[in-house]
């Protein structure tokens, strides 16, 4: 039997983390959780998830900074990143410019408030 793929869910809202985690577990994924960007980076380095569902607006280290850290690290850059963003109207592509002028390369994004079923479809597509 193949090993379950590990997904890291990162959001500063524990309720959202829980709701997403439950959906992923029902789809037979393994789930790790983090509640801000710094904790996320620790978990990413430690557990090497296949995909990270990453909130943008978080304390200490935001999602854009986490995204940069992952995509600029040769050991981590293959990790798939799906951004959860409430500012989706500023996202032209997944490589986009945010308000302080940085460009960040994510693999996909979904606008908040999120459609959980649509998020699961995105995860399944990337994890095939």
């Amino acid at each position: 039997m193949s090993e379950k793929q590990l997904i890291l869910v990162v959001d500063d809202d524990p309720d959202l983390v829980e709701a997403v985690s439950m959906k992923l577990e029902a789809l037979e994924y393994r789930v790790a959780t983090a509640y801000d960007g710094e904790e996320a980076m620790e978990k990413i380095k430690e557990e090497k998830p296949v995909l990270v569902i990453l909130d943008v607006m978080m304390p200490r280290k935001n999602g854009w900074e986490v995204c940069d850290d992952i995509k600029n690290n040769d050991d981590l850059k293959s990790i798939i990143i799906v951004l959860l963003t409430a500012v989706a109207d500023s996202v032209k592509t997944t490589s986009y410019t945010h308000h302080d002028g940085k460009t960040t390369l994510a693999d996909d994004y979904i606008p908040k408030p999120i459609d959980l079923d649509k998020l699961m479809e995105i995860v399944k597509d990337h994890c095939q």
Binding site: P14, V17, A19, R60, V87, P113
Partner: protein, 317 residues
């Protein structure tokens, strides 16, 4: 016994706890707290409502101090408890063990609380702000936290928040939709609602009893509690099986629960839900809302009717 694993503790300060008690259907002049706040466009970060002894209604809401000052006409039936904070542990996974252990810790350390409420992930206690350091210390020593856990008190990035509120009001969900988005409404039937009333001195004992039910009972479906006058604790526990702790009152019940984006940040949502049920004459036994979650406990047989009624107000995917 191994320490109970949790992922984090969250502390939020500077709230006022407002409580209100009235007789349903009799106190015509008494407007429910949630309706007054909704008309003032003021949000409660959490609220519980309980019908006690079939007629008395008790409402307890947690409001940010800065917002409470904006209430234009506080009702004389309200009681205030200023300078409180909320302390949450997460996730609870609806297990009785962390719930009972939290109650036990507070009781054994003689720390009272104003309110207990739960969301999809969090068990939240409202306590005096003067006790917050003590409670945080007790929790961090007695629960098993991951070394990477986030700080207990989150610092708000004021500039970022201002920018987002100005440009993207939906990011803090201050808007109000005609029909409020949810992730779906779940109805669970064949549940048992147990009501307990005990003195503050017995809190540790009850906490220990609930904790010890972990092996016998699979999980809780709803929990709320508050301290009434004279140090009396009211506790309401909804489980799938009848539980072994003798209760003051028990009844069969159904649970409607739903989650949505930032319910805890937005005014009027619980008011719209309860008004909708009231207009259809659907009785409510208990209600709790905080974070992104709302839970409504109904007498047996009302669940489907209530779910249908709520579709007028809430969008169900």
């Amino acid at each position: 016994m191994d320490p109970i694993k949790i992922n984090g503790i969250r502390l939020n300060k500077n709230y006022v706890q407002v409580t209100q008690a009235y007789i349903a259907g009799q106190d015509q002049s008494c407007v429910p707290l949630y309706q007054v706040l909704a008309s003032n466009k003021i949000n409660m970060v959490s609220m519980t409502l309980g019908a006690i002894d079939n007629s008395k209604v008790f409402v307890s809401g947690t409001i940010a101090s800065k917002h409470f000052q904006q209430v234009s006409s506080p009702d004389e039936s309200w009681n205030y408890h200023r300078d409180v904070c909320t302390i949450s542990i997460y996730p609870h996974h609806y297990r009785l063990q962390p719930l009972g252990f939290f109650l036990y810790l507070l009781g054994s350390q003689k720390i009272s609380f104003q309110n207990l409420i739960f969301s999809n992930a969090m068990l939240t206690f409202v306590v005096d702000q003067t006790d917050c350091d003590t409670v945080i210390d007790i929790l961090s020593k007695n629960f098993d936290l991951p070394p990477s856990h986030v700080p207990f008190e989150q610092e708000e990035n004021v500039e970022q928040t201002k920018f987002l509120k100005r440009r993207y009001p939906e990011t803090r969900a201050t808007y109000m939709e005609k029909r409020i988005k949810t992730y779906g409404i779940t109805l669970v039937s064949d549940l048992n609602l147990c009501s307990y009333l005990f003195s503050f001195d017995q809190l540790a004992e009850y906490g220990h009893l609930i904790q010890s039910m972990q092996d016998k009972e699979d999980k809780f479906f709803y929990i709320s509690a508050y301290m009434a006058t004279l140090g009396q604790t009211h506790l309401f526990l909804l489980t799938g099986k009848s539980i072994s702790i003798p209760a003051r009152q028990t009844c069969t019940a159904e649970l409607l629960s739903f989650h949505g984006p930032h319910f805890g940040d937005r005014h009027s949502i619980i008011s719209r839900a309860l008004n909708c049920l009231s207009q259809k004459f659907i009785p409510v036994l208990q209600t709790g809302c905080t974070g992104a979650s709302i839970a409504i406990v109904l007498p047996e047989g009302y669940g489907q009717e209530a779910k249908t009624a709520l579709k007028d107000v809430f969008e169900i995917p």
